[in-house]
């Protein structure tokens, strides 16, 4: 894919709930190799925008394109295989960390692909976690460890785009750096075909991300 082509694009997104304009004609282009940081006060529409981008939320009008093509309803699971949304507090199921990493491969969309334990170990190694982390019980994980598990679970699926919704908001400094490192390593591994959007409240983190910043204000992209 060419560097300047938008991999994910929102055109004139609008969403009104109870006469409140939550998204007001929002347009946004995410280019390959050119990640974005989204900032803005609470309630400005940041989360709603990225959730709409991955089609977890409906829109009243506007268009979302992936690789220049409109995403049809029947292609949404396929689209989400490529564009992954990471919640601030993602679900972790009962069982071990490894069982959680294997879980997505039970879904029809990932059938034919296998859980790669070596890749999982290598990702853990990148953030200095021992292999024994895989056998840890999910219920014993801290918030930071849960987020790391969820991120590794996503990275094992080889997405093209990551949409990160304040993934480190509730984490301590060490876990925050671990999550950032995992994302940076994933991105640098194939920066010519990948990209990400990171919602953050932390100016320090935005500086570390070192990417274009988009500011949201009252459902609009502030200019």
């Amino acid at each position: 894919m060419h560097d300047n082509s938008p991999i994910l694009e929102a055109k004139n997104l609008c969403r009104t709930v109870a006469e409140r304009r939550l998204l007001d004609d929002v347009s946004l282009s995410l280019l390959v190799g050119r990640p974005l940081a989204i900032v803005g006060s609470t309630g400005s529409g940041k989360s709603l925008l990225v959730r709409s981008l991955v089609m977890l939320e409906p829109i009243d009008s506007g268009e979302i394109t992936f690789g220049g093509k409109c995403v049809r309803p029947s292609h949404v699971p396929e689209f989400r295989r490529n564009v992954f949304y990471l919640h601030q507090k993602p679900a972790i199921w009962e069982g071990t960390v490894e069982e959680n990493l294997e879980r997505p491969f039970e879904l029809a969309i990932h059938r034919g692909r296998n859980y790669d334990v070596d890749r999982a170990k290598s990702l853990l190694d990148q953030i200095g976690r021992p292999t024994s982390f895989l056998t840890q019980r999910a219920e014993d994980l801290s918030g930071g460890e849960s987020q790391i598990t969820a991120l590794i679970r996503a990275l094992l699926l080889n997405p093209t785009v990551l949409l990160l919704d304040e993934p480190t908001a509730a984490l301590d400094a060490d876990s925050t750096l671990a999550v950032e490192r995992l994302v940076f390593e994933w991105f640098r591994g194939q920066a010519d075909s990948r990209s990400f959007i990171w919602i953050s409240h932390s100016p320090e983190q935005v500086r570390r991300l070192d990417c274009e910043v988009v500011k949201m204000d009252q459902g609009r992209v502030a200019t």
Binding site: L56, P58, S74, Y85, P90
Partner: protein
């Protein structure tokens, strides 16, 4: 057709004085409530009065329906019963959503009318005319009463599951799950919950409980084995109506919460 001799002389016809004597037992319960400060005497009284009024009314209506003997009157009565049951099924659930009443009525209607038709035309066969209220009305009443429980429990549990599992469902959708894959755990739990009472009832019937219909037939002078055969048929019909009703209601609710873009419309839950 299975013959059930209902000979008037075989049972003791009750006078209203005898009914009043039975009501004395409710007074005893009321006194217990006062003595133990349960605060239930008022609701006991209201429930008792409602029992008398509602059953007397249906007695009058049934007498009239039996006398008129027209198919459209029977169908109208059963349609009214279905609408009332659909409404009642939703009254007890805590998590309501827009359109739940319609889902309840459709689920109740499809399940009970299908099973009733099967009972009349396939199982009993000799019901003549096909709408004969002696069979259709009591059968419908029993089917609705039980399907109502299944629908109520099923939809109620689904609402609770969707709230409790919201993050899980969204995580699955984000991982590329279809709406069906994301919802299936909640749907299965809801359907199991709706089916549990009837399955439990079938497990202990005859051992712990003697069903009301069978008891009624025996009291009215029917041969116990005839009454038992009827009861077995009824249990199977009830189980089928409950299963169909529960599955239909849960699937209808699923269609409201998950759209074809594989989005979970959690905000529909009140």
């Amino acid at each position: 057709m299975m013959g059930v001799p209902l000979v008037a002389s075989l049972y003791i016809e009750l006078s209203w004085i005898q009914v009043a004597l039975a009501a004395g037992l409710v007074v005893v319960s009321g006194i217990l409530s006062i003595a133990l400060r349960l605060g239930m005497e008022k609701s006991l009284m209201i429930a008792s009065v409602r029992t008398v009024v509602q059953l007397s009314l249906i007695g009058v209506v049934l007498t009239w329906v039996f006398a008129v003997d027209k198919w459209y009157i029977v169908v109208l009565l059963m349609a009214f019963m279905t609408l009332t049951a659909g409404h009642a099924a939703l009254q007890r659930i805590s998590r309501r959503y827009k359109g739940d009443w319609l889902d309840g009525v459709i689920a109740m209607g499809v399940s009970t009318w299908t099973v009733l038709a099967y009972a009349v035309f396939v199982v009993l066969q000799d019901v003549d005319p096909w709408y004969r209220p002696q069979y259709t009305v009591p059968l419908m009443g029993m089917l609705l009463g039980n399907a109502l429980n299944g629908v109520s429990l099923g939809i109620g549990r689904l609402g609770e599951e969707l709230v409790a599992r919201r993050t899980q469902i969204e995580t699955l959708l984000a991982l590329g799950a279809t709406r069906w894959e994301a919802a299936s755990e909640s749907l299965r739990t809801a359907i199991r919950t709706g089916m549990t009472p009837i399955t439990n009832a079938m497990m202990v019937v005859g051992l712990v409980s003697l069903p009301g219909m069978m008891t009624g037939q025996i009291l009215a002078g029917a041969e116990p084995m005839h009454a038992v055969a009827y009861q077995i048929v009824i249990m199977f019909l009830i189980a089928a109506a409950t299963a169909l009703g529960t599955v239909a209601s849960v699937l209808l609710a699923y269609r409201r919460f998950f759209n074809d873009r594989h989005q979970f419309e959690y905000w529909r839950l009140r």
